[in-house]
């Protein structure tokens, strides 16, 4: 009798478990669907920007925050001030960064949404491990780490490592950075 009841309860639990698991599957699958749909919605308008000869579609940087950087204002610098190479946030987009923020670069800095990155960018369109900027042979190179929405160098999508030069624009997710080589 008791055994029969226990059996009945197990079957009842299994019945709801079965339905519940199907919905758990649906939850995961829909999450995957929407995640990828969102990425497409963002990358679509970037296509003409990448194809255009002049990277005009990338938002132009506001000059005023750039002027606050010591390295770019020679008139006010009688002696060369030693500054580190840095990234200036030209357009924060929808990311957690704020415009005009300066990020100093070390020998190798990873950029991405995950917390283990050197520069953490909380942005829906930024991949977990999005990009890497590293020093090699006196040059600072930009590398895309297989991001979903791509890394953009002066409006061109990065496929192989590219060397950064002073004033270059780096697009990651919705944010656009300006690279400053510094005087180091």
């Amino acid at each position: 009798m008791a055994l029969g009841m226990a059996f009945g309860i197990i079957i009842l639990v299994a019945k709801y478990l079965f339905l519940g698991l199907i919905y758990l599957f649906l939850y995961w699958a829909f999450k995957g669907l929407f995640a990828q749909m969102g990425s497409e919605a963002r990358s679509a308008p970037q296509v003409p920007a990448a194809a255009a000869p002049v990277p005009a579609a990338q938002p132009t940087l506001v000059p005023s925050p750039a002027a606050t950087l010591p390295g770019t204002v020679p008139a006010f610098a009688p002696a060369p001030v030693r500054t580190r190479a840095s990234l200036l946030v030209g357009d924060a987009g929808e990311s957690s960064l704020s415009q005009g923020e300066t990020i100093e670069l070390t020998a190798a800095v990873t950029i991405g949404r995950a917390d283990d990155n050197g520069v953490v960018v909380k942005d829906k369109f930024c991949s977990g491990h999005h990009a890497l900027i590293f020093l090699q042979g006196g040059q600072r190179l930009l590398r895309d780490r297989g991001s979903t929405n791509g890394t953009f160098h002066n409006g061109q999508r990065v496929t192989t490592d590219v060397a950064l030069r002073d004033g270059d624009r780096v697009g990651i997710g919705t944010a656009v950075f300006e690279y400053h080589a510094g005087t180091q």
Binding site: I11, A14, K15, F18, L19, I22, W28, A29, R143, G146
Partner: protein
């Protein structure tokens, strides 16, 4: 470095596939316990799930990125299908497992064979002609079953339903035609001018009307609705004009009204829909048994193996949705619908991603076919629309239907490879416009 970043998507596909295996086995175990069979027989469903996992790995060999969502969804749909079929008739379910494995191999074949989906575009007229030819041969020399001549082949050896194959061929034809003529159609349209561009839409309409004639003669109403619906969708895709969609819809409605007055069997179907109680033991029997089953299922169902699918005519094919409703309840029927939503939404998503028109239209057309099939049969069982015989993708019993659904899936996967590879390679993207 790139490789390692791409892999998480693959892992999640595999984990979803393994998860769907687990769900299917649980469902099978419930059915086997309720039907007092050896619970170990539940493991038979793993043949299909293992087939899916193996397929996913096999399609990985090329190393190209592709869609990761369609296979897990199809796997769970197939699993649920086997569970429900096993409950209705274990022999049919065993045969269905074989059909699914055959379908999976057909899918792999299509995926590997079609290197670039655009290679199929030149065969659009061939596809249309073959579809029409098959249907006409069936009409003349087909085998009759349930009052409709829908089968082709040699009795006892090899039989198949050409109309199922015709769906895919029709999608290929429409996608090919519109991809080629789409620009001309749009260019010939004048803003504000009613029906400008008809010159190039006209031939399409003629072809569709011809198909409709065949279906009406064959008394295959489900297929007629499906093809008309596909035409409505394509005419909107081709022109981007709501006028055309509206016009096709009016045509659709007009055709329905015309069919009602012209054909006795259409009138009968319609009358059953309006009032199944007029003849509850005769014409209305099937739909009423289905409604009773859905009603007794309630919110979460009577439990797998505890319903009475034997009382519903054609429970394993047309009425399978009612069996799901009885044993898995509203929760189960909604879950199945949502799985179809996933497949359809993904197809449309791929259609929007694809960088060339043909691939884009093909994915969208296949999505429309899946969507219409699901809507027509579930709507019919739920008595939202008149019931017309059409299969439920991946769930209804039927060899041709299963294999063809897998072929469609293979085409979608091929489109996804195309879409993704062009997305990651900007060099290819610029040179490729159709």
């Amino acid at each position: 470095m790139r490789r390692t970043i791409i892999s998480p998507g693959r892992r999640s596909e595999l984990s979803l596939l393994i998860f769907s295996t687990f769900v299917s086995v649980l469902g099978m175990a419930l059915v086997c316990v309720a039907m007092q069979q050896m619970p170990l027989r539940a493991l038979r469903v793993t043949a299909v799930s293992a087939g899916f996992i193996l397929t996913a790995m096999l399609l990985q060999v090329g190393g190209k990125s592709r869609d990761r969502l369609l296979l897990p969804c199809a796997s769970l749909l197939c699993g649920i299908g086997i569970v429900v079929l096993w409950r209705i008739n274990p022999d049919l379910a065993s045969r269905q497992i074989l059909w699914m494995l055959l379908g999976l191999s057909a899918m792999v074949g299509i995926y590997l064979l079609v290197d670039d989906v655009r290679d199929l575009a030149p065969y659009k007229y061939t596809a249309g002609a073959v579809a029409l030819g098959l249907l006409i041969i069936t009409m003349v020399a087909g085998r009759e079953s349930h009052g409709a001549r829908l089968w082709l082949g040699v009795d006892g050896y090899f039989m198949f339903q050409p109309v199922e194959l015709a769906k895919i061929l029709m999608a290929l034809f429409l996608a090919g035609y519109v991809a080629e003529k789409g620009d001309i159609i749009r260019a010939s349209m004048r803003p504000g001018v009613f029906l400008s561009g008809f010159k190039h839409m006209g031939p399409l309409l003629l072809v569709v009307l011809f198909f409709l004639g065949v279906f009406v003669a064959q008394r295959d109403l489900g297929a007629a609705v499906l093809f008309l619906g596909l035409f409505v969708a394509v005419s909107y895709l081709a022109t981007g004009r709501k006028t055309y969609a509206l016009l096709s819809l009016i045509l659709f409605a007009g055709g329905m009204v015309g069919a009602y007055y012209l054909f006795g069997h259409v009138r009968q179907r319609f009358d059953i829909w309006i009032n199944p109680w007029a003849d509850p033991t005769g014409n209305g029997y099937q739909i009423l048994q289905g409604l009773f089953a859905l009603g007794s299922g309630g919110l979460t169902g009577v439990g797998l193996g505890h319903g009475f699918p034997g009382t519903i005519p054609a429970a394993e094919t047309d009425m399978v949705y009612a069996v799901i409703g009885e044993e898995m309840g509203l929760a189960g029927t909604l879950a199945v619908l949502l799985l179809y939503v996933l497949v359809v939404a993904r197809s449309f998503d791929l259609g929007m991603r694809a960088r060339n028109q043909f691939a884009s239209l093909l994915a969208t057309c296949l999505g429309v076919v899946f969507a219409l099939q699901t809507l027509v049969i579930t709507g019919g069982v739920l008595r939202l629309i008149p019931l017309t015989g059409i299969t439920m993708p991946f769930i209804s019993y039927g060899g041709t239907s299963i294999v063809v659904n897998f072929i469609a899936l293979g085409l979608l996967l091929a489109v996804s490879r195309d879409a993704v590879s062009e997305e990651t390679d900007p060099k290819l993207r610029d040179g490729r416009t159709d």
